[in-house]
Amino acid sequence: MLSRVADAAYWMSRYVERAESAARVLEVTRTMLIDLGQVGTKRAATQVGDVLKLMGTKSRTLEEAVFDVSDPASVISNLSRARENARQVREVISSEMWDHLNQAYWRLSEAAGQTSRVEDLSQTLEDVIASSYLWVGVTDATMRRGEGWGFIRIGQFTERADRTARLIGLACSSGSLELPAGGPERTNVGWLRLLRSTCAIEAFRKQHPTRVDPRQVLDFLLFDPELPRSLRYSVEVVERFTERLPMRDRASRRALERRFGRLTGHVAFSDVDDVIERGPQNYLGDFSQLLQEANIALQETYFLH
């Protein structure tokens, strides 16, 4: 396939995943503030501020972070970029994929124009999340397992690894790694938010039916081989699909394998004790660096030659 088209397919998929991830963390934060009875307080402002920083947005409110088209990191901007990329790859993706992505974009645009958009925020965010699920399902159900499919999967799971790493970083910076003394009501909300923002709370509870122990959460989201948003799962998917891409030449293939090998190695050959010993932020910083290098190698091999 055309390099430009492969590039667009990869980014289309990344932006859908990014929009979904942003929508989920915004919605989780919103309900968390209500649960804590903190809406409008200074602590609430810090919580919101942290999430906005994580999204990389310049918006100052949850509402803006969803709807502001002039903010490149807003949910609507991400969805719009996903769609612009999809427009460039329509001859590669299925019509159904385009249709559903396009509809999701139009629904969000329409929601942005409603006067009740603040009251309906929850519904809108849930719709973005559901649209992404639907789109991923439609992609799975209608697209040929060729090269284009490979780039879409790589994009999706690269973005997912990146988002999960950022979310873990946020939880580590705001919460203690120790199990707090006292009863279950003392559970650190930061870790709960992390589990909810990665769709992992139910899976976690099934594995750890006692209290939410930060070490266990960390272990689960970094290393669980079966959790579809863990770092380990995500990088394994990325590596697997990268191996299947067509080989340009031996040298570029080896360079690519080296980069992805380092990335998966970083996850495969660590455990939670190492991570805590080195400091989670250091560990995650290295991870992000390796992810970015692998990403650059992929782009140089397939998109930018």
Binding site: M1, L2, R87, Q88, E91, D99, N102, P246
Partner: protein
């Protein structure tokens, strides 16, 4: 939806007969429409808009600094062409395209028609879209015009006439295919009793046409569609055709010349292209040969073409046929090359560059339609009877200053067609653009784009000027739709 109170005002109407009453081929349709109430009709019309928007059948209007996406307005009332009418149109178009192709082969070759002074050489060699770079170059199979869209109108007597030829880069065929599929979904009932000839093999035929002109004997030539990119107003169509044909959609920046061949940068390295269906104006395809400021093309593309490494469809230089000052000579071309009388007549045309015609134009300017010879899309036009004195005088000066750049035609009342406007059927002017493909032989897609001027009384059907479109039904056999008595109360008055 009924035709009660519909008034043809004495003009030719596709659906309503001069004496009132519905034409036989429209009987069944009129009955179906009468069964639909206005609310239901409006609901279905909204469904159509949503479907078209979801499929991305939109064009972008740049107002302020933000692009607004609009759906090209589609009117669900189909235009019906009988089998007999179509047979005539088809024969006429095949004849015309054959003559145009022979003309191109001639003017870029021996130039017999110019030497014999059938056409003034100055007119051809000085045309904006004449490409001297094409002289002496014969493309594979001697085919220059692979895709042609010819605009037809009906005069007062209902006779089809050719208004203009689009031999460069005719667009709109994606709307033909898309609107048929949408209409079948939303108004299946309208198709009852009609054997409508399908249009959806267009893309296969286009693919065959392009395969046919591949330069090397490859079992499966690599074809690609060349687009200016996603900001072009016809991008949807470029992407649609690439998808339908199952080929790559490339931009200039995807192309590179290697060892004289045109290649696209793919994830597996450079991949050679045999045939490029170019949807970029030919002066933009290669900054080395044509416009040096073009960012849309690929340096070296034209020499690759001349050397036979790649085929371009349409060939560069075919725009000389679109020149409105050359248009009046197409009937002469048919006589000269084919030794036959034209089946489809032209609209009478006055050339400002001919002294007699100039005199006539100056005397009758306020009654005439004036067009710029190298413009299209309804731009640079004067419609005398609708223009102010100041506008007429402005054109008078322009014409005097550059006679070669203008032609004039009598103001022709286009044929009309009932069109759904605010829940009622109202008369609107229509034209018809059929699509002709030239591969191993010349084929005409049954139907085409029926464009509608959505403003009442307007004669301009271009999408850029407030036009919409209709589905065009070419009937498979003569008696279709004619099984029931006419229910209409439409009348016809003399206006």
């Amino acid at each position: 939806m009924r035709l009660d109170g519909y008034d043809t005002e004495g003009f030719f109407d596709e659906m309503v007969k001069p004496g009132g009453g519905v034409r036989p081929e429209y009987n069944a349709l009129a009955l179906r429409l009468a069964e639909l109430n206005a609310t239901e009709f409006a609901n279905r019309q909204r469904m159509i808009d949503v479907l078209l928007r979801n499929q991305g059948v939109t064009f972008t209007v740049y107002a302020d600094d933000e692009g607004v996406e609009k759906v090209f307005p589609f009117d669900p009332i189909p235009r019906i062409v009988t089998a007999k009418e179509w047979a005539h149109v088809e024969k006429g178009l095949i004849q015309r395209v054959e003559a145009l192709n022979l003309f191109l082969k001639d003017v870029y070759g021996p130039q017999r028609i110019l030497n014999d002074r059938v056409i003034d050489p100055e007119l051809v060699l000085g045309a904006t879209f004449f490409r001297r770079e094409m002289i002496g170059m014969e493309p594979p199979g001697g085919i220059y015009v692979h895709v042609v869209g010819t605009d037809l109108i009906r005069g007062a007597d209902g006779q089809f006439m050719v208004l203009e030829d689009n031999a460069r880069n005719p667009s709109g065929v994606s709307y033909v295919l898309q609107c048929r599929s949408v209409l079948k979904r939303v108004f299946p009932v309208l198709f009852n009793e009609y054997g409508v000839r399908p249009v959806d093999d267009y893309s296969d035929t286009l693919r065959d046409t392009l395969n046919h002109v591949a330069p090397r004997a490859a079992a499966q030539p690599t074809v690609a569609v060349l687009t200016p990119g996603i900001y072009n107003s016809a991008y949807f169509e470029h992407s649609f055709l690439a998808r339908q044909m199952g080929v790559s959609l490339v931009e200039g920046r995807d192309l590179v010349i290697q060892d004289g061949a045109v290649c696209m940068r793919s994830t597996q390295g450079l991949q050679r292209i045999d045939v490029l269906y170019s949807r970029i104006d030919d002066d933009f395809i290669d900054p080395v040969t044509f416009r040096p400021d073009s960012m849309l093309g690929c340096a070296g593309l034209f020499s690759a073409y001349r050397s036979g490494a790649v085929t371009l469809a349409n060939a560069p230089g075919t725009g000389v046929c679109d020149d409105k000052a050359i248009y009046p000579f197409v009937p002469d071309m048919i006589r000269y090359y084919l030794d036959a009388e034209p089946i489809l007549p032209n609209v009478p045309t006055y050339l400002a560059s001919r002294p007699d015609d100039m005199k006539y134009i100056m005397e009758h300017l306020a009654e005439l339609v004036v067009k710029k010879t190298d413009a299209s899309g309804g731009y640079g036009m004067l419609i005398g009877p609708k223009a102010s004195n100041a506008e007429v005088e402005e054109f008078r000066e322009k014409i005097k200053a550059s006679p070669r750049a203008y032609i004039a035609q009598p103001t022709i009342q286009l044929g009309r067609h009932p069109t759904a406007i605010d829940g009622e059927l109202d008369r609107r002017c229509v034209d018809l653009r059929p699509y002709v493909l030239f591969g191993d032989r010349i084929r005409v897609t049954p139907g085409g784009l029926t464009r509608v001027a959505l403003r009442r009384g307007s004669l301009v059907v271009n999408s850029s000027q407030g036009g919409g479109y209709k589905d065009t039904w070419v009937l498979a056999d003569e008696s279709a739709g004619n099984s029931e008595p006419p229910p209409s109360h439409a009348r016809s008055s003399d206006a």
